[in-house]
């Protein structure tokens, strides 16, 4: 099935959760990412339980400081 991850089409063979997608996309520190799914921000507690569907649009939004990462 096809997902749009950060604006790019991404083929995945099996259905997966947001947590699994974060791992697949090699996001090293998922705690430093906020996830928007089809226009809505997901609660962090929902990453584990939210299963992605065909054509879902997912955005990973990263915490960014100002030259530090504190």
């Amino acid at each position: 099935m096809n997902l749009v991850v950060n604006g790019k089409n991404t083929d995945i063979s099996d259905s997966m959760t947001v947590t699994e997608l974060l791992a697949k996309e090699d996001v090293k520190m998922p705690q430093m990412v906020s996830v928007e799914l089809n226009g809505q921000i997901l609660k962090r507690s929902e990453f584990e339980t939210t299963r992605l569907k065909d054509d879902d649009k997912v955005e990973f939004l990263y915490y960014m400081g100002g030259g530090t990462c504190l």
């Binding site: 809505q40 030259g67 530090t68 504190l70």
Partner: protein, 271 residues
């Protein structure tokens, strides 16, 4: 207020823009912008806003200039190392445009001082460098109903969003609160490409001027992300979050508080 001959010449490239004109330039001269943090983002924003003729520029910063700042904080020069950032920034702003009224606040932005400063301004530039301060600016601007430009930079990436408090998506709508302390790659020495601060800080100044003049479409309801390595700019649309702890349907944050600042633990550094 009418423009003097010297002002007409100084701002001629603005004035000939149909969308600005003499009336727009007079508006800028009567405007007040607060820059919180005279660092990488605040430096270009301050310089361009002064050059543009923004009449009053406030600068909040409790820090002194360090040699390692000069790679990106272009408002500070080599001779300023050791000087107060507010004084160094004030001097460059006045060198570019002596008619700017500069107000300086030698302090760190905190819950007990920032609201009374912010409320005197038309627009705020968040040029802070840590999450506690970024959430503080977001919240203080919400309570004072002052629009602001949020931005962050890290390594080769930058992002920004303009917030009209109570009307458009805020920083907490996106991130809720600071990252969990034990999850942060705690390191104050994360690298950042110096010029990135120039790109993003200049975009913040652009948003300030657009807001002050009522021009175009503000960067609200969308986070602009910039990847310098791929040269990709992307606008990610972000709706207001009904669960936002600040501006959502059932707000948990009803008064201004400082978030805990996350301290550096070099052992866990992955920056």
């Amino acid at each position: 207020m009418s423009l003097t001959d010297e002002q007409i010449e100084r701002y001629s490239r603005h004035i000939i823009l149909q969308q600005v004109g003499g009336a727009g330039q007079e508006k800028l001269l009567a405007s007040k912008v607060l820059i919180i943090g005279a660092g990488g983002l605040g430096a270009p924003a301050g310089l361009y806003l002064a050059a543009a003729g923004v009449g009053t520029i406030g600068i909040v910063d409790g820090d002194n200039v360090d040699l390692s700042n000069l790679q990106r904080q272009i408002i500070h020069h080599t001779a300023d190392v050791g000087a107060e950032k507010i004084r160094s920034a004030e001097a460059k702003i006045l060198a570019i445009n002596p008619e700017t009224r500069v107000r300086t606040y030698k302090q760190w932005a905190k819950a007990d001082n920032i609201r009374e400063i912010i409320r005197d301004y038309d627009f705020v530039i968040d040029g802070t460098d840590n999450f506690a301060a970024k959430f503080l600016v977001n919240d203080a601007c919400y309570f004072e109903k002052v629009p602001f430009s949020h931005a962050g930079i890290l390594r080769f990436d930058g992002q920004l969003i303009t917030v009209l408090p109570g009307e458009t998506t805020c920083y907490r709508c996106i991130f809720g609160g600071p990252p969990p302390a034990d999850a942060v790659p705690s390191c104050s020495q994360a690298g950042v490409l110096g010029v990135l601060a120039g790109v993003i800080g200049s975009l913040q100044a652009t948003e300030a001027i657009k807001y002050l003049l009522g021009l175009g479409d503000l960067l609200t309801g969308a986070l602009l992300t910039y990847d310098a390595l791929s040269m990709d700019f992307r606008k990610v649309s972000l709706n207001r979050n009904p669960q936002c702890p600040l501006c959502g349907d059932d707000p948990k944050i009803t008064e201004l508080k400082d978030e805990q600042q996350i301290l550096c633990d070099p052992k866990n550094c992955e920056c």
